[in-house]
């Protein structure tokens, strides 16, 4: 089982995702350069946070044209697991692997703070190890995390249970529309993370790799990585290949 972390020139959370996976979750990890035309045989791919190409235009607008994104698209269409964090989520939206778009935060300011998100569904490879309704404390750090999509798309997301994480209050209660404390960027329906219909591609704005060690404030993000490891292990067992036992 091997994880790949894609490196765009302006990725700046690539090393953090690498550290969380290798030092904390203790899985093999490899960086994949944005010019690469393949994914080096990785079993799951992470598009990390950062400013892929400076993002002076629109976040992720240039990154989607990187050679590596062809490979990521092929991998995703074939059922491969793709996790987009923050800028990675924005890139997945631009690439059309997830529906919707990001607008600037409601306050028009960059926001870095701990937030609470609720696990809405556990029938994904990214949340299988969590419990439904579980509240995770994970930080955000972005200027454009105000998720938006058309009403029809939103209905579709709701119907297919594709909204995987929502911003909530610390006690897990709903964040009402005016509650900038709980829904800091004004996201539609307090959406913090969604997956595709096939449930193998997930994007979220909060940074689970920053919530992987108690010494840094929270280890709640680990459940996402551990879910991935467990899902890959189960898949490997199903296909008769022996896999490393997750740490």
């Amino acid at each position: 089982m091997k994880f790949g972390v894609v490196q765009f020139p302006g990725s700046n959370c690539d090393a953090d995702a690498f550290h969380a996976l290798s030092a904390i979750v203790r899985q093999p990890v490899e960086f994949i350069w944005h010019q690469s035309k393949d994914l080096a045989g990785c079993d799951a791919v992470i598009l990390p946070g950062g400013f892929a190409f400076g993002d002076y235009l629109r976040t992720g607008a240039i990154a989607r044209f990187s050679p590596v994104m062809r490979a990521v698209e092929r991998f995703a269409r074939g059922g491969g697991l793709v996790l987009g964090i923050c800028n990675g989520f924005q890139i997945l939206l631009e690439a059309g692997l997830l529906p919707g778009a990001m607008m600037r935060n409601q306050g028009l300011r960059f926001l870095c703070r701990q937030v609470h998100i609720r696990v809405q569904a556990t029938d994904t490879p990214f949340t299988a190890a969590a419990t439904r309704g579980q509240v995770l404390e994970i930080p955000i750090a972005h200027m454009e995390g105000n998720y938006f999509c058309e009403a029809a798309e939103l209905a579709e997301l709701e119907r297919n249970n594709q909204i995987i994480f929502r911003y909530v209050r610390a006690d897990g209660g709903e964040a009402d529309a005016s509650d900038r404390g709980a829904n800091p960027n004004g996201s539609l329906h307090a959406i913090a993370g969604i997956c595709n219909r096939e449930r193998n591609v997930l994007g979220l704005m909060p940074h689970p790799e920053r919530a992987a060690e108690l010494g840094l404030g929270s280890a709640d993000g680990l459940v996402i990585f551990r879910s991935l490891v467990a899902s890959l292990a189960a898949e490997a067992r199903a296909s008769g290949v022996t896999a490393a036992v997750p740490a």
């Binding site: 020139p9 550290h19 030092a23 400013f51 960059f110 750090a141 840094l216």
Partner: protein, 777 residues
């Protein structure tokens, strides 16, 4: 020489800021008249900003050596040993004038510049801190008579600076972990933007900006050169402001943090090839300073041809190319024959890398343009033989007036409340004053967590704490300065700046090991400004010696004056601390109900100052300014030995995990310190009972006095005996003043309740003051 250039005359030299003597000196060095390009080179390199001509004679008095110091002042940044084969590289620098003229780009490029100083030495930046000072953003006593127009402009400057810092650091991918934001009327037309950056690397990975090997290629890397920032160092940073200052906007550089991120990765990767001999960033004075300083340090010369310099505008003259301060550029010397390895790395990152010249043996900086000589000057003369002035020093008369006889508070006319009076209203106003109010609204606009090392980010502790992934250790970082105290007594104020930064580091559990300073002053040609500067240097030197925090670098920013009015003399100190075990890091906030609250006092057992000193020193406090509009008297007296005892005690307590939190007593005094410790965790509050320290003591002094060498700590009841024993061992007083509760905050003085209120209402006032002042303006 190119003969199409403008012929240099004494008047042109004067317009370049060179005095007649300095101009004569350039002619003596060259043995002829300088060319126009040469004049430009001399004028930037001999500017105050680059040459330190007014400060050097004083800076020599600073202590620069110590057990941890690997590299002191003179390189791009200071370097200290942090164990396990690792070194920390750090430095603070000002970008004051550009931030006034163009707040967003000025602050952004300030961050960019200090980051390059760190990675040019081979270290990856792991944290940035910003020490910011603005004019008032709210009306009232603290505003010092600022007009509504000034207040609006100050908000605009603040907003631009904050956005600029976030824009640069967030994209670059370095956490901005704290700093200070202070408001005083004197910064209305001259904000201070001091940026500190910290990096780490293995000791053998360090790089120095010292050219070696005649014949080695000189390679230009990074962004292309444009006309931006020409004379940023000389005309912008080395002159006071007048009404026409807004016209200086073209002198401000433009920042591109994405480019800087590419430059960082490419530089570190190129250094790892082993093909790089020396490297220096093109900061102030751009190509001029990087080429001449690298040559000078190596005792060699450099020859470059400007025709090969990547340019983003056409028709640039040699003068413009040499003086451009376009950002995100570096100059490096590679090993002859291994250029390809360097080029390959930079091309991988999509960056220009062009051989523009070579190292020579003759010691001359020779600048060619299409083969024609545009400048030929001994490199050492430009970089090291600039003018040095022992400028006239004179104490201002006003200084004597401010020092009254008897208790300074009374002399300065601070009206004291009646014994037993309720001070809650004053306390609320203090909590809402912008200098004391929560800075969360600002720090949330910075990514403070990227790189996943931030154990304690902005506001969580007295210092920022960064764990080191490479070891068990952690680094702590704090910046401090108090311009008001610097104004009232420059030497004492400077000592306090060092002591407070070191105390903050110790409160986080780390041992202070080294310092960097940013010295913000007015016009050095004024004897009273030079007196302030000289006094401040003596204060810093003495405090750094006693607290064992040698100065490893920094910068001097003179000419912080607008229309002849100088800022408060504001030395800002950045102190770095080292913690053996990151798990011992202490936050400022209380932990649990029932914990005991103690005041540790370095003075209580050591003598030196009279214990009652606290009572007299309120007239220079944040309280006197905010509540009564008084800035007078003297800063509290300081006892450096007591500060050292407290620091050692705090480090020992943290190392044994004997205390649960530590927060120093500074701006706003004990009352603010206790309240802030409550605000750390939902629902916690405190019950405090204070007694008079002496017959002269009074409630305001006990609550709001800012005398140093003190900290508020919280302790689990079971640890009390151990804490007392450790405090006694370090000859530090440990006075139990109360307990952590879940009720109202209540502070009693001599048995009477003087402050009382729900912690939630206090927190609201404290946390909403800044966003309310700026967003709802």
């Amino acid at each position: 020489m190119i003969d199409t250039e403008i012929k240099v005359t004494p008047q042109i030299a004067a317009e370049h800021g060179l005095s007649p003597e300095e101009y004569a000196r350039t002619k003596k060095i060259l043995g002829r008249d300088p060319s126009f390009t040469e004049l430009g080179i001399f004028s930037v390199m001999w500017s105050e900003h680059c040459s330190y001509k007014s400060s050097r004679v004083h800076l020599q008095r600073l202590p620069t050596r110590g057990t941890h110091v690997v590299q002191g002042p003179g390189e791009n940044a200071g370097v200290v040993d942090i164990g396990d084969g690792m070194v920390a590289v750090f430095k603070i620098e000002s970008h004051n004038h550009p931030s006034f003229v163009e707040p967003f780009q000025g602050a952004a490029t300030g961050v960019g510049g200090i980051l390059r100083d760190i990675f040019t030495m081979g270290a990856r930046p792991i944290a940035v801190m910003d020490s910011l000072r603005f004019g008032p953003i709210t009306a009232g006593h603290g505003a010092g008579g600022a007009t509504a127009e000034e207040i609006a402009r100050n908000r605009h400057i603040l907003d631009g600076v904050i956005r600029g810092i976030g824009f640069y650091g967030n994209c670059f991918g370095v956490p901005t972990v704290g700093g200070e934001v202070v408001f005083e009327a004197c910064y209305s037309n001259n904000p201070l933007v001091n940026a500190l950056a910290l990096g780490i690397c293995r000791r053998e990975e360090l790089f120095f900006a010292k050219a070696r090997g005649a014949g080695n290629p000189v390679i230009y890397v990074g962004a292309k050169t444009g006309r931006d920032g020409i004379h940023g160092a000389s005309l912008l940073a080395s002159a006071e402001f007048s009404e026409e200052s807004q016209q200086k906007r073209p002198n401000v550089q433009m920042g591109d943090p994405f480019m800087e991120k590419l430059l960082l990765e490419a530089c570190l990767e190129a250094m790892r090839t082993g093909a790089v001999v020396a490297i220096q960033d093109m900061g102030a004075a751009g190509l001029t300073s990087s080429s001449s300083e690298m040559a000078s340090r190596g005792g060699l010369g450099i020859e470059i041809d400007l025709a090969r310099v990547p340019q983003r505008e056409t028709g640039m003259t040699p003068y413009e190319i040499m003086l451009s301060e376009s950002q995100e550029r570096m100059l490096l010397v590679a090993e002859r024959g291994r250029e390809r390895e360097v080029f390959d790395v930079f091309h991988k990152w999509g960056l220009d890398a062009v051989e523009i010249g070579r190292v020579t043996e003759d010691g001359i900086l020779r600048v060619l343009n299409h083969g024609e000589v545009a400048a030929a000057i001994p490199a050492h003369a430009i970089a090291e033989e600039g003018p040095r002035y022992a400028r006239t020093i004179a104490a201002p008369d006003a200084q004597a007036v401010a020092i009254g006889a008897g208790p300074a508070a009374v002399a300065a006319g601070v009206p004291l409340a009646k014994s037993g009076a309720d001070l809650t209203g004053n306390f609320l106003r203090l909590l809402a004053s912008p200098t004391i109010a929560s800075k969360r609204w600002i720090t949330e606009q910075y990514d403070s967590m990227v790189q996943t090392n931030t154990t304690f980010g902005p506001g969580a502790g007295d210092a920022a704490v960064l764990r080191l992934k490479e070891s068990k250790r952690a680094l702590a970082l704090a910046t401090d300065g108090n311009g008001r105290w610097g104004f009232l007594a420059p030497r004492l104020g400077a000592m306090h700046a060092v002591a407070e930064a070191a105390r903050n580091v110790a409160c986080s559990g780390a041992r202070p090991i080294a310092a960097t300073n940013c010295l913000n002053f007015g016009n050095p040609e004024k004897p009273e400004v030079m007196w302030q500067f000289s006094e401040a240097i003596d204060g810093i030197a003495e405090a750094c010696r006693v607290l064992e925090t040698p100065i490893t670098g920094g910068n001097v920013s003179f000419y912080n004056e607008t229309l002849g009015k100088a800022i408060y003399p504001t030395p800002v100190l950045g102190v770095l601390g080292l913690m053996e075990d990151a798990g011992c890091a202490l936050g400022a906030g209380f932990h649990s109900e029932g914990d005991l609250i103690l005041v540790l006092d370095g003075l209580a057992q050591g003598g030196g100052l009279k214990a009652a000193a606290s009572s007299a020193d309120i007239s220079s406090s944040e309280y006197a300014k905010t509540i009564h509009g008084i800035v007078a008297g003297l800063p509290p007296a300081i006892d450096l030995a007591a500060e050292k005892r407290l620091i050692d005690c705090l480090v020992a307590l943290a190392g044994e995990r004997a205390v649960l939190s530590a927060h120093d007593i500074s701006d706003g005094g004990l009352a603010v310190s206790v309240a802030e410790a409550c605000f750390g965790r939902d629902g916690l509050s405190a019950e405090i009972a204070l007694e008079a320290a002496s017959p002269q003591d009074f409630a305001e002094a006990a609550l709001f006095g800012e005398r140093g060498a003190r900290a508020v700590v919280s302790v689990a009841p079971a640890s009390l005996a151990r804490v007392n024993a450790i405090a006694a061992q370090y000859k530090v007083g440990a006075r139990r003043v109360g307990a952590v509760t879940r009720a109202e905050l209540r502070i009693q003085y001599e048995g009477a309740t003087v402050i009382q209120g729900s912690i939630e209402s206090l927190r609201r006032v404290w946390s909403e003051a800044l966003p309310r002042a700026i967003e709802n303006a």
